[in-house]
Subunit: 149 residues, 2 copies
DNA sequence: TTATATGCAAACGCTTTGCATCACG
DNA sequence: CGTGATGCAAAGCGTTTGCATATAA
C-alpha cells in the first residue's frame, strides 16, 4: 500500500528483519522533529502499544547509524544525541539550540578549507565533523516576540 | 624563579588557589602530547609523588575548560577527550587519529560558509564546532615506511 | 526450521555529589 | 583565620553484555 517509513524500507533493503521492536524505533525516530536521545526513543516507544527494551533501543540505533540512516551528534553540553538523515551524501547538521530541530546542509565549500589546513599542518585529514548550533527561524520569531512583549 | 607552567600562572591570574592537586593536574596536562582523557590525567598524577583524587581531576578539568585553557573534543568514537589550547582566540583542532597529537588551526575561512548557511536555512548560528581527524606528518611517515617494508 | 533479534537484569565506565577535613592566601 | 579545595565513597546516568526465549523469514 505504502512505504510507511523510509527507515523500514532501508532496513529491508539491508536484509535486516523487520521486527516489531524495529518498527517501533523507526516510528519513534521519524516523529522526532529534531535531534533525539536514546531515552527519547525509549519514551516514545512506551507511548505506543508495545514498549521496546532499553537495550534494544541502543542496538537498533547502532544499526541505523551503521546503515547511515541516523547520525550521532555531540551537543555542546557533551551529551550524545542522534539525528535522522539522508544516507550517503556527506553533509552536516544545523541544530536549533532552543527546540532541537535540525536541518541538513550539504557539503558546503569546506573542501578548500580542508586543503588549506592540510598544507599548513602537514596532516592528511580523512574525516571531519562540523556541527552548527543556533536558533531556527521559528525560535528566532518566538524569541523576538517575547523580547518586544 | 620561573613560570614553570602556563596553566598554573593562568590559574593564579584567575584568582584560583594553586593547590597541590591543581599543580599535579597542570603538570599532567602539559606533558600530554595530544588529546587526553580524565583517566589519562589521573594515571599521570599517580606516577608522581601524590595521586589526585578522581573527583578532583574532573573538577580541575572543568575549571580549566571554564578558563579556556583546555577544550573538550568529542572523538569520532564518541569518547570525550580534552586538548590543551591557547585561550581566547576562536580556533579548531586537528587531531591525529593514530597518535592523538593535536594542533590548533585558527579561525580559517569559515565565516563566509556560516553566512551562506544562515541565509539558506534561516537559522541564526551562534556556535559551531569543527573537529578534524587525520594522520599527522609523523604518523604518515610511519605508515608509509611500514607500507613499503 | 533456524539464524536473528529481543527482553531482562546485571555489569560497566565515566562523571557527579555530599560531606567532613584540609590548606592556601 | 575563613573560604575554597580535596578526598573519599556512594550515587547517578547512559550504555553494554550474557543468556534464555521468542520470532521473522
Amino acid at each position: 500500500m505504502q512505504q510507511p517509513n523510509p527507515v523500514l524500507s532501508a532496513l529491508g533493503d539491508a536484509g535486516k528483519r523487520l521486527t516489531i521492536a524495529r518498527r517501533a524505533v523507526a516510528e519513534a525516530i521519524t516523529e522526532q522533529a529534531g535531534h533525539f536521545t536514546a531515552e527519547d526513543v525509549l519514551a516514545a516507544s512506551r507511548l505506543r502499544r508495545r514498549a521496546v527494551a532499553r537495550a534494544t533501543v541502543f542496538r537498533s540505533l547502532d544499526l541505523l547509524v551503521d546503515l547511515g540512516l541516523v547520525e550521532r551528534v555531540d551537543l555542546p553540553s557533551g551529551d550524545h544525541a542522534y539525528v535522522a538523515c539522508e544516507p550517503d551524501a556527506h553533509h552536516h547538521h544545523v541544530v536549533c539550540s532552543a527546540c532541537g530541530r535540525s536541518v541538513e546542509v550539504g557539503e558546503l565549500g569546506l573542501r578548500p578549507i580542508l586543503e588549506r589546513i592540510e598544507s599548513s599542518t602537514g596532516f592528511a585529514i580523512d574525516s571531519h565533523r562540523l556541527e552548527l548550533f543556533g536558533l531556527c527561524p521559528e525560535c528566532r520569531a518566538t524569541a523576538a516576540s517575547k523580547r518586544s512583549a
